[in-house]
């Protein structure tokens, strides 16, 4: 789906101070985000930052964070980068498939699909 009107997106980037890239190491769509620390002074963060911290009380993949916020991935990533830099969230990248998917995981996945 393509929309030619960039207006709302430009406004969205107001949330990030015009930044399109998160600071620090890149992270995957299914990297796991978890809130590890809450700010003592809530005013330093914007409402979207707080929303992320709320969502990520439970470990949550980046894609779900973006969908939960209703924001584009780029914007979500910039906000996540801010929170990581400040030490409020940890972001764990997925392991390569040949490391993360062992025999048991394959069997669990098969079982999980079959019981749907």
């Amino acid at each position: 789906m393509i929309e030619d009107d960039p207006g709302p997106l430009i406004r969205l980037y107001g949330l990030t101070g015009g930044r399109a890239r998160p600071q620090g190491e890149a992270f995957d769509l299914v990297a796991i985000v978890v809130t590890v620390h809450l700010p003592q002074e809530p005013s330093v963060l914007n409402p979207e930052h707080h929303h992320i911290l709320h969502i990520c009380r439970k470990p949550t993949p980046v894609a779900d964070v973006a969908a939960g916020l209703g924001l584009p991935l780029n914007v979500t990533r910039v906000l996540l980068g801010d929170l990581r830099r400040e030490g409020y969230v940890s972001i764990t990248p997925p392991k390569p498939a040949n490391q993360s998917i062992d025999e048991r995981t394959y069997r669990d996945v098969l079982h999980g699909i079959r019981r749907l």
């Binding site: 995957d28 796991i32 978890v34 894609a63 584009p72 764990t92 394959y106 079959r114 749907l116």
Partner: protein, 195 residues
């Protein structure tokens, strides 16, 4: 500040064990990718967007963007919870060739891919087949049998697409849950065998 239900990283080892696995659903425009994701997902398919510049590449610098044509590419994805700490995500890949760069990220670390094909426009699935072959990512070709679509036998599709002998080819109905389950179990079984 403390609050209830807070899942802290486990002290032992210090890392979380939560894992999200990816399966890609690829194929030509309008072949039923989003339908397939929606049929099997435990949640209504989530939708997010990626901002692109007019060149179809990621935007690094937004200064002067008002003079460019910014576009968004939609990314639809569904989720299946396997265990409390293990999720399977299905990502419908962007259909247009100019969004190939997004595939690289989607494919990184993926368990495998489903290439959805429509026998009326079989050539539409060739780019996806080429891509996953080059990447050596396990995939299956699932022929979406639309109403009125000619029912090819898998052997003919295999020859027409130029597949090797091990890549599974199966007929499916992307709207039918048990059919989509068959596609996914075929893919996971295949991925186990070839990894």
């Amino acid at each position: 500040m403390e609050f209830a239900g807070f899942d802290r990283p486990r002290p032992s080892g210090g890392t979380l064990t939560a894992t999200a696995l990816k399966i890609l659903v690829a194929g030509g425009f309008g072949v039923g990718k989003t339908t397939m994701v929606g049929t099997i997902s435990e949640i209504r398919p989530l939708h997010t967007e990626e901002l692109l510049s007019d060149r179809g590449v990621d935007v690094d610098d937004l200064s002067g963007i008002e003079r460019k044509v910014a576009t968004t590419v939609a990314l639809d994805f569904g989720r299946i919870t396997i265990r409390q700490d293990l999720w399977l995500y299905l990502f419908g890949t962007p259909g247009q060739d100019r969004f190939w760069f997004m595939w690289d990220e989607l494919a990184l670390g993926a368990l495998g891919a489903v290439v959805l094909a429509d026998t009326r426009r079989l050539a539409d699935c060739f780019p996806a087949v080429d891509y996953f072959e080059q990447l050596k990512l396990p995939f299956v070709v699932a022929v979406n049998c639309f109403d009125g679509a000619r029912r090819h036998d898998p052997g003919k599709v295999r020859r027409a697409v130029g597949l090797d002998e091990v890549t599974p080819v199966i007929m499916c109905d992307a709207r039918n849950r048990s059919s989509v389950k068959d596609v996914l179990t075929t893919l996971v079984t295949h991925a186990m065998e070839v990894r």
